[in-house]
């Protein structure tokens, strides 16, 4: 029996090791390709250049054959869209979490929570559809009414739809954080004569804050990495602007466009996708680690 246990244990270990190994391999493959890219284009130009036009020529003597790989407009586009998305997802997600954990009767929780979790299961391509077919024309109409010109692939449309997509994540994670606040603390506050909103504001939210912050960070990280919605709804042209009604492009959109179709795998154009991927990976990793760190470090404060 002990022998059988050992084999099983070894098998489980292999399974766990497998996913770690794959992650490491992915990081290395992206890393190596990125290094090749940075041999052609200096890191500095890539990280701080403001011109993004990655087309390379078919023939060597063609005009504009060198291409230009300044990724700042992409970063800014990603930041702008994610920012708009979080403007929607953070308050709506947080407030619905507060409602569900502190105000809603049990019956309501049991019917609302599955619906919200279903929202998390909607394929992002459907959100993209929704953005392009329904929401974008609607927002343009509204803009026209007020005399605003809104591009059909504006950062606003993409951001709002992405925000809707992120709501369930923020909601679910902050809800978990608030449910983890011991009932005894809420009772203590109620017993002191605090109203429900005072208890939420002064006891529940401060105690759940680490969890709420990490929920936000994970939401942001999802927004940054989100691809399908932006591919469908955001623009392709890399324009450096802070105007949410103009079309912007994002890191993920560019990765997709760089790699779609037949490609030569040694041109700067293709390799740029890996450099973008590496940056993306770096930022989401930082955000995820930060979220993990915050929720671990402060978790046991109230026990």
């Amino acid at each position: 029996m002990a022998r059988f246990d050992k084999i099983i244990k070894g098998y489980f270990f292999l399974c766990a090791a497998f996913s770690v190994l794959i992650t490491v391999l992915i990081v290395f493959s992206v890393l190596f390709e990125s290094v090749r890219f940075f041999n052609i284009v200096p890191v500095w130009d890539f990280l701080f250049g403001t011109q993004w036009s990655p087309q390379t020529a078919m023939r060597a003597d063609q005009a504009g054959s060198s291409g230009s790989f300044g990724a700042v407009p992409l970063f800014m586009g990603t930041v702008l869209i994610t920012f708009i998305a979080m403007c929607i997802a953070a308050p709506v997600g947080l407030f619905s979490a507060i409602y569900l954990s502190e105000y809603a009767p049990k019956k309501t929780v049991n019917s609302i929570k599955p619906i919200l979790e279903m929202l998390a299961g909607v394929p992002t391509v459907v959100y993209g559809y929704f953005a392009v077919i329904t929401f974008s024309p609607f927002l343009r109409g509204v803009g026209d009414f007020f005399g605003l010109s809104i591009a059909s692939e504006s950062a606003m449309v993409t951001g709002i739809v992405m925000g809707i997509m992120i709501i369930p994540y923020v909601m679910s994670l902050s809800n978990d954080a608030m449910n983890a606040v011991p009932q005894s603390l809420k009772d203590a506050s109620t017993g002191m004569g605090a109203t429900r909103s005072e208890t939420v504001r002064l006891v529940v939210i401060p105690a759940a804050l680490p969890g709420i912050i990490s929920a936000m960070l994970l939401g942001i990280s999802r927004g940054i990495g989100e691809t399908m919605i932006v591919v469908m709804a955001a623009g392709l042209a890399a324009k450096l602007t802070a105007n949410p009604f103009e079309a912007v492009t994002t890191v993920t959109v560019q990765i997709v466009t760089l790699l779609v179709g037949d490609q030569e795998f040694d041109s700067a154009k293709t390799l740029a996708a890996f450099a973008l991927g590496l940056t993306l990976f770096f930022f989401t990793l930082v955000l995820n680690v930060a979220a993990l760190f915050i929720s671990r470090k402060y978790r046991e404060q109230y026990d």
Binding site: K106, S184, D187, A188, G191, M192, G193, A194, T195
Partner: protein, 255 residues
């Protein structure tokens, strides 16, 4: 008991959670500036009764309460009653010490702040000091008021919770097994504190320790299966109970 000596009174109190009735026609008088102990086996309804005294059961959706609970002759279950003010008058200390994850100072200042009891930082400082003093904790924490309340020992935490409760100058303090999570020394300190606090407050305490009930209380009510079986002066009940069932419980024959 004379009328003026009664601080709280329950009349014909019936409580149920959903289909399950927890209290049956409970009548009890709680004497002013005395300690009333509620004893009885687990699940007998004494916690439910305690929570009815400051309407803590209001937060439980399925809880239905029928009957009268009076504070100084006024029914606290009337529609117009402000629960916030009521709970300021009737404070509560819980089974497990439950300080907020805030500093010692902020824990005590919590109630005065939400009720707007003080006008300046100096007044608040004074009130915090006074409350900690009364809870017998001041000398131990005066140099570390900014430390988290959770950094204290269990017994100190419970006294912090008592300080927090008395900071809003309640009339009645409800204690739900306040010593059950504490060691004998911390328990002794709290018992002495209760003895001291009754000069100023009316105290209702749930306890599973017969010795504790005998030591700290002036009156005792024995609950069993949602009913009060016997109530009266502690001395009389412990030395010469009227009913066999009370005697058996006190002697530890069931429960």
């Amino acid at each position: 008991m004379k009328n003026k000596d009664i601080r709280m009174q329950a009349k014909g109190l019936n409580v149920s959670y959903g289909d399950k009735q927890a209290l049956f026609d409970v009548n009890l008088e709680i004497a002013k500036n005395k300690v009333t102990a509620l004893i009885g086996p687990s699940g007998c309804g004494k916690s439910t009764f305690l929570r009815c005294l400051n309407r803590m059961n209001d937060v439980v959706d399925s809880c239905k309460i029928d009957g009268i609970v009076q504070l100084d002759g006024f029914n606290i279950y009337k529609k117009k009653v402000d629960v916030v003010l009521l709970r300021q008058k009737i404070g509560m200390v819980f089974q497990k010490p439950n300080p907020f994850p805030k500093s010692i100072y902020e824990n005590v200042a919590y109630g005065p702040k939400i009720h707007g009891l003080t006008n300046s930082r100096e007044e608040l400082d004074k009130l915090v000091k006074k409350s900690l003093n009364r809870a017998g904790l001041w000398e131990e924490v005066k140099d570390r008021l900014e430390d988290p309340g959770t950094s204290l020992s269990g017994g100190q935490q419970q006294r912090l919770c008592i300080a927090r409760a008395i900071a809003v100058t309640p009339e009645v303090i409800l204690m739900d097994e306040p010593c059950s999570a504490l060691d004998p020394i911390a328990t002794k300190i709290i018992e002495e504190l209760i003895d001291d606090l009754k000069k100023k407050f009316t105290i209702v305490i749930i306890t599973h320790s017969m010795q504790q009930a005998a030591r700290v209380s002036d009156y005792t009510a024995f609950f069993h299966l949602g009913k009060i079986i016997e109530s009266g002066e502690t001395k009389q009940m412990f030395s010469n109970p009227r009913l066999k069932r009370t005697q058996d419980y006190i002697a530890g024959k069931f429960g």
